[in-house]
Symmetry: C3
Subunit: 140 residues, 3 copies
């Protein structure tokens, strides 16, 4: 697949809730992690999305929030992938942060350089990739 | 809270409209500004979101649109926070723009360097931060 | 219009599907390309959006996915604008990619520098700009 998005996760559709405009689709990745996507109901029909089918969840790196808070914070974002920072590439404004999940899945995030400093992001630090369901594109 | 998102606004939930897949949640910030978030209905239940409760609205800087147009332009984005540019940090492609609202709330935006030049963004310039409701993550 | 978003497309509303929280609005651009936006139903009412009316579709460059895959890949993102790369501006982390559509419309995307290398993005290469409907802001 030739796509600019840094995150392309393959998995199986394990739940699908239709709605009038949008639908919620749950993908279970090979490592066992789950990703929820909210896509238009028109896409569900067009792509023939159904429980049991396979699909790709596609997420651009700037759409990923990184958190090192595993304390009391609970977020409305449906996707909260816990892992470990495996790489940080610094730039003048932005930085690219790579988080590796226990199942081996790799998540790329682009955050500000300020955030890298504040959160102390560097290889080995426990961190989560937080992704809002409405930011996930599905592909088949 | 240890989160990479540059914008974390605390407020009180003053309205909540449920829907089959998504819900609209209005947060009133301490300075009186209002922020509308569209989150999944599942999150409303999971986080126990209800009118009167407190929550954080979380928005990554690249999701914020900056406008200096207070003329006729009207946008579908529910959140239009009027303030003054208080800082601009330039980079080769992107720039970070800080807008301070009258109530003291500070909003961070990452826009292209081209946009900074075109809009003449610099400290002291009146500008608005525009945020689409479906781009706001809620936290409790 | 003084707005930081790099993509502002004018067109006519040719379809509108209302919903309880969100509505889907289709805009037909002057070049014939179509763009679907998912906005809140409250915005439809506030802006007086209706079939036959004119509106602007506004999309920040980091929301645009670039793909050079015109093979079997099918995406849930409603907007798939096929064109040719007309410019690439490189940065340390991100790059700005400009795609010109056959009708003359120009689309700006910010992608990672890694993606530019992997996809071989340079002037003359056929590429598509993929935009999720919920990432489009409408203006009037």
């Amino acid at each position: 697949m030739k796509i600019s998005a840094r995150n392309v996760f393959e998995g199986q559709i394990t739940a699908l809730t239709p709605g009038p405009i949008n639908a919620a689709v749950t993908l279970t990745l090979s490592g066992g992690d789950q990703l929820v996507a909210v896509v238009t109901q028109a896409s569900v029909v067009d792509l023939g999305l159904a429980v049991g089918g396979r699909a790709f969840a596609i997420v651009k790196a700037p759409w990923v929030i990184v958190t090192t808070d595993d304390g009391g914070l609970r977020l409305s974002a449906r996707n909260h992938l816990r892992g470990t920072v495996s790489a940080v590439k610094a730039g003048p404004i932005n930085a690219e942060v790579v988080i590796t999940l226990p199942g081996g899945t790799v998540v790329h995030a682009v955050v500000t350089q300020d955030a890298v400093a504040e959160l102390g992001l560097k290889p080995g630090v426990a961190a989560s990739a937080v992704i809002k369901a409405s930011h996930v594109v599905l592909g088949v």
